[in-house]
């Protein structure tokens, strides 16, 4: 192996201009305004008088090489040979004239991809790797997204929501999917099950102890072997110990549940950015279709769609109507688990007489 090893070229991040549509290169930083002529289509006008038409479509995100080649074929035949991926893994084709738009849409749809996802639609869920590739997942990600988007597809193809809706799923509590208008995350409900025969061999025990957010882990000798033990009264079942110490198995077919969080918004528009807040938990992790979680998500979305004003994101809407009304309108149960007790929690309590009767 050591023979003739090739030294890497540390080129880092490549120059993107070589991959950019020439109209975008020519008008870089010189755009004037844009319009949204129909769902899935944007047109941007430059000060130069040039325009660029974008057609956005969704794929399965885990692309096989056949699918990628189909996307390239469409790009070559109907677009101008350029593909842009959005940060939520949608594909965007760009063309320089309006005439190319309809044939492009027809080709995309004929190939089974879904045109939409612009403006006040439900965008593709951003998601993680799940059982397909992650080393610590309690659920799948691609499968949850596929199941959910099968039912929300019309809200992707049309623009009927009060404002855009960004959703995400994550297969552990680290939440790689990110804070979103609606986030579906794993919530473990039981402490890790420890294989004491393995801990001493596999885990760097001091760093596992340090990893625990509530200092519930301490070194211990178990059956004459160095291991770790968990104070189960303190344990918050977050799973932070599992990645550095796989013998501390946190995932459980029955007790790793799904939780739903709402109101995360990264934009500075109107209010400052907000984190998502817990609204539902204890939802079964039920492959292959996860119908229970989709039902709750749809209920939240329908309430938001009916009740929110134009341009209100999920968090804007809830701020206006108040959390009591959110729970009343969605019919979700309010429990002691909704009341925060983490650092800074008092800021989340109502220290006023502002109450809607």
């Amino acid at each position: 192996m050591a023979l003739d090893m090739r030294s890497p070229i540390e080129s880092g991040c490549p120059d993107g201009f070589q991959y950019m549509h020439p109209t975008m290169r020519r008008n870089y930083g010189l755009w004037k305004y844009h319009e949204h002529p129909r769902p899935g289509v944007l047109v941007h006008y430059a000060h130069s008088g040039e325009e660029i038409w974008t057609v956005k479509c969704a794929t399965q995100r885990i692309l096989d090489s056949f699918t990628l080649r189909t996307l390239c074929d469409i790009g070559d035949k109907y677009a101008d040979g350029y593909i842009h991926f959005t940060i939520r893994s949608n594909v965007e084709y760009v063309v320089d004239t309006e005439e190319k738009v309809q044939p492009l849409i027809d080709a995309i749809e004929a190939a089974g991809f879904i045109v939409g996802g612009t403006a006040n639609s439900i965008a593709t869920l951003s998601h993680t790797q799940g059982w397909l590739h992650c080393d610590i997942p309690a659920t799948d990600a691609s499968g949850v997204v596929k199941s959910m988007m099968d039912e929300l597809i019309n809200e992707f193809k049309e623009c009927n929501m009060p404002n855009r809706v960004h959703m995400s799923t994550s297969c552990c509590q680290i939440n790689c999917g990110g804070s979103s208008d609606i986030a579906i995350n794993i919530q473990h409900t039981k402490p890790p099950r420890i294989d004491h025969t393995q801990v001493g061999n596999v885990c760097e025990r001091p760093s596992v102890v340090a990893r625990c957010p509530v200092a519930a882990i301490r070194p211990a000798m178990v059956d004459g072997k160095p291991s770790l033990e968990v104070d189960e009264k303190k344990c918050i079942c977050c799973g932070a110990c599992f990645p550095p110490c796989p013998p501390m198995q946190i995932n459980d077919a029955e007790h790793s549940k799904l939780a739903i969080w709402v109101g995360g918004n990264h934009s500075n528009a109107r209010g400052k950015p907000t984190f998502q807040r817990l609204v539902a938990a204890g939802v079964p992790n039920n492959p292959p279709r996860w119908p229970e979680v989709t039902a709750i998500v749809k209920k939240i979305l329908n309430t938001y769609k009916t009740d929110a004003k134009d341009w209100e994101r999920m968090n804007d809407w809830i701020e206006r109507i108040g959390w009591p009304q959110f729970f009343e309108k969605t019919g979700l149960p309010f429990t002691k688990y909704h009341i925060d007790n983490w650092r800074g929690a008092r800021n989340s309590l109502n220290a006023s007489t502002h109450i809607r009767f």
Binding site: W31, S65, I174, S267
Partner: protein, 419 residues
């Protein structure tokens, strides 16, 4: 040699129903139709293991330590715990490859990458993972090096994995957005390519992410999801095309503008006049972007553009969510010197954090632990009112340096006034 019998996948088969594109159908396409027998076998084996996960509700991948020659990271190693049952995918590592800022590709380049991957990997690719990389999903210990050597020769490099500077991410930006106030491409590449060593050889307390958004809409989600967020903004007056304002009102009505524009302004800085023009109190505008989003033809950012820099955003682990906080309220990025200063600031931040952060402690968590003022003194930045939402509430602090600090403030103000 004939292909192995296909694993039964009754649960995964359910995910081929319905109108949304199916990743299962895609993997089966590889299993059934790919000309390369290795890819067919890997796809079959992967489907077998995934079905097993669906049945048992459990994951079966374990990590490890693998990289390419000369690097220490960039690979997500995956060994199957059930590799004896699903042999062809028992080594199933992912290579993280850095995309260009803004995620632009030609179809030619996508085909070239795909062909290289079919030579050495599973044929599965994701554009992009949540940390911003192209994810080439599934290859063996041996083929990692071959694939990397091939794509590295034509311009692609590994991204970050582990405790290191991670791959950067940028919004669509100036290439196709009238609201962008900064050159995302230049910022992204200046920063990332200054830290290639820290990307490839993990030696920091934990991960460190750069993200760039062209305007405060922050489509790149940089405040919440990066340690070092660079967001375009402007400090002169926003530009108002009053004729377009009138045209907008003629089309949508006054009530629409009152309900959806002026009354939604978070700092109440807009007035709709009787003659259907808008007056903006720019000194009170917080650059939230809402009115520009609604009336993008009539309202545009001003000309005196630059960036705001926020530091310390991250998700839950370990102390809970943190947003980035303002460290630099406004910085011009016009000249090469400006960009060099930006890179120097990033170096200061990373050096200070590398020195003072605990193992597995993100930059924002360190700031939480030591306090913003200690962090600012560590990186040599003066305090600024835009760093806070409000001044201190609690009197429990020793303040015998007050007079010196107040003097410093007035001296700074005088210096700024004379500049």
């Amino acid at each position: 040699m004939a292909d192995k019998k296909h694993y039964d996948t009754p649960m995964l088969d359910e995910l081929e129903n319905g109108p949304w594109p199916s990743f299962i159908s895609g993997i089966k396409h590889l299993r059934d139709d790919h000309e390369n027998g290795t890819i067919r076998g890997v796809a079959n084996s992967l489907l077998g293991q995934l079905e097993h996960s669906y049945e048992t509700r459990k994951g079966y991948w374990k990590g490890g330590t693998i990289s390419v020659y000369g690097y220490g990271g960039g690979i997500i190693p995956r060994f199957s715990e059930v590799g004896d049952q699903f042999v062809e995918s028992k080594e199933f590592h992912t290579l993280r490859v850095q995309p260009p800022a803004g995620n632009y590709y030609t179809t030619d380049m996508l085909r070239q990458l795909s062909e290289s991957w079919e030579k050495y990997g599973s044929g599965l690719i994701t554009f992009h993972g949540q940390t911003g990389n192209i994810m080439f999903i599934g290859t063996t210990n041996e083929n990692i090096q071959h694939f990397f050597d091939e794509v590295n020769e034509y311009g692609w490099d590994l991204g970050g994995a582990g405790p290191c500077v991670r791959t950067g991410m940028s919004c669509v930006g100036m290439a196709r957005c009238e609201q962008s106030c900064c050159n995302e491409h230049a910022i992204h590449r200046h920063l990332m390519n200054n830290f290639t060593d820290d990307v490839h050889r993990p030696a920091l307390p934990y991960k460190f992410k750069f993200k760039v958004s062209g305007c405060p809409n922050d489509c790149q989600n940089s405040i919440e999801r990066s340690d070092f967020a660079i967001i375009g903004t402007w400090r002169d007056d926003m530009k108002v095309d009053q004729e377009e304002v009138k045209a907008f009102i003629a089309k949508k009505g006054r009530q629409y503008v009152i309900d959806n524009v002026t009354t939604r302004c978070p700092s109440d800085c807009m007035t709709l006049n009787d003659d259907d023009t808008l007056t903006i109190d720019n000194s009170n505008c917080v650059r939230c972007m809402h009115c520009l989003n609604v009336m993008n033809k009539a309202l545009t950012p001003g000309d005196d553009r630059g960036v705001t820099i926020l530091i310390g955003g991250k998700r839950t682990l370990k102390i809970g969510d943190l947003m980035g906080t303002v460290i630099i309220p406004f910085k011009k990025l016009d000249t090469m010197e400006d960009y060099e200063e930006l890179v120097e600031l990033a170096e200061e931040v990373i050096d200070f954090w590398a020195e003072n952060g605990l193992e597995h402690e993100r930059c924002g968590e360190m700031i939480e632990r030591i306090g913003l003022v200690n962090f600012l003194e560590g990186i040599g930045i003066e305090v600024d009112l835009n760093m806070i939402a409000e001044p201190r509430q609690c009197s429990y602090i020793r303040m015998d340096g007050w007079n010196e600090e107040a003097t410093k403030w007035f001296e700074r103000k005088a210096e700024e006034a004379s500049a």
